[in-house]
Symmetry: C2
């Protein structure tokens, strides 16, 4: 058996993940059969499952990457960046998440596998909120955890609206009202003007 | 064939809808087979489909009722009532909605059937926002439509968190921050204290 270089292995991993994402988005998680995954990825099941032992592993790796990218956006581009990123998510792909909500709630192992990877980025995200509080961008009379929870509610609401194909509210409006909720006391007046 | 009184018809409709809701919640929409629906409702498929010609009709009637009840809560109990109502929704039943999001986005007829019934309650909901603006409960420098959209984002975010079985934020906190976003300018200080 020929040895595959690390570089080729890594390229193949990317090929598999990209194909799996398209396949899930197009067919839903349940609808993405092994035959469809093979066709979309362009590799045999043997080759695919050599890298990812199950369909579940494929999904979890994709979810972990989404999560890391969203955290990255939050750290580098702040509130505005993350709101704009959620508004631009692919509705087809978001529907795959919604399809798996029942499973996340009821399947303890599945939930733990996803959450353990999310916990890895949590401290940096929290630190970014604390920094924004010190900078006077966010109010400091409410804890950073609470601010994070509220921002997440609004982001989840946006993602759900997007997944349903409903008309999205203006991003500027969402940002203005969100800043009125979590910004410092004196931020209200300029936020009103931009709304 | 014996005639059934209107009263008995109405009781049977309720029996069917209650059983269907339990069956969908327990098995998911796709998982709720005709056999499972018969067992949970306690009637034969012939009797059930005499009232509701398809599984889709059952779901739509249940969704329409949820929507009417939520609108009722909003009209009678305002922001606090509606936030508390969403927080108490059954996660199992919420997952049925999530499962159908792909369909709502892609199946035009299905979407139209749900939305046409939602449009019926929209004017009263809007009027209630305008009233709150006149009463000084909500800010009036942002349109009532925009306020409704933002409140909906937060409610959808809460519903999604609830459906995933994640820990919900404190309802008082959500209400305080939401009021800071959509309340009048001077509301900020008391809202901060209660957060």
């Amino acid at each position: 058996m020929p040895k595959i270089s690390e570089e080729r292995k890594s390229a193949r991993r990317e090929q598999i993940l990209e194909g799996a994402r398209r396949c899930f988005a197009e067919n839903g998680y349940e609808g993405a059969t092994v035959v469809k995954l093979e066709r979309e990825i362009g590799l045999s099941r043997g080759a695919i499952f050599n890298y990812f032992p199950s369909k579940e592993d494929l999904f979890i790796e994709l979810a972990v990457r989404d999560n890391a990218r969203m955290s990255e956006t939050w750290l580098n581009e702040g509130l505005e960046g993350v709101v704009r990123a959620v508004v631009e998510l692919d509705p087809e792909w978001l529907s795959v998440y919604l399809e798996l909500f029942r499973r996340v709630r009821t399947d303890h192992d599945f939930r733990e596998r996803i959450e353990s990877r999310q916990r890895a980025v949590a401290p940096a995200n929290r630190e970014r909120i604390e920094q924004a509080q010190r900078d006077g961008e966010f109010r400091d009379d409410v804890g950073p955890k609470e601010i994070g929870i509220f921002v997440n509610l609004v982001l989840n609401g946006l993602a759900l609206t997007r997944a349903g194909g409903e008309e999205l509210p203006s991003t500027d409006l969402v940002l203005a009202l969100l800043r009125d909720a979590i910004g410092p006391d004196r931020a209200r007046t300029p936020a009103r003007r931009s709304a």
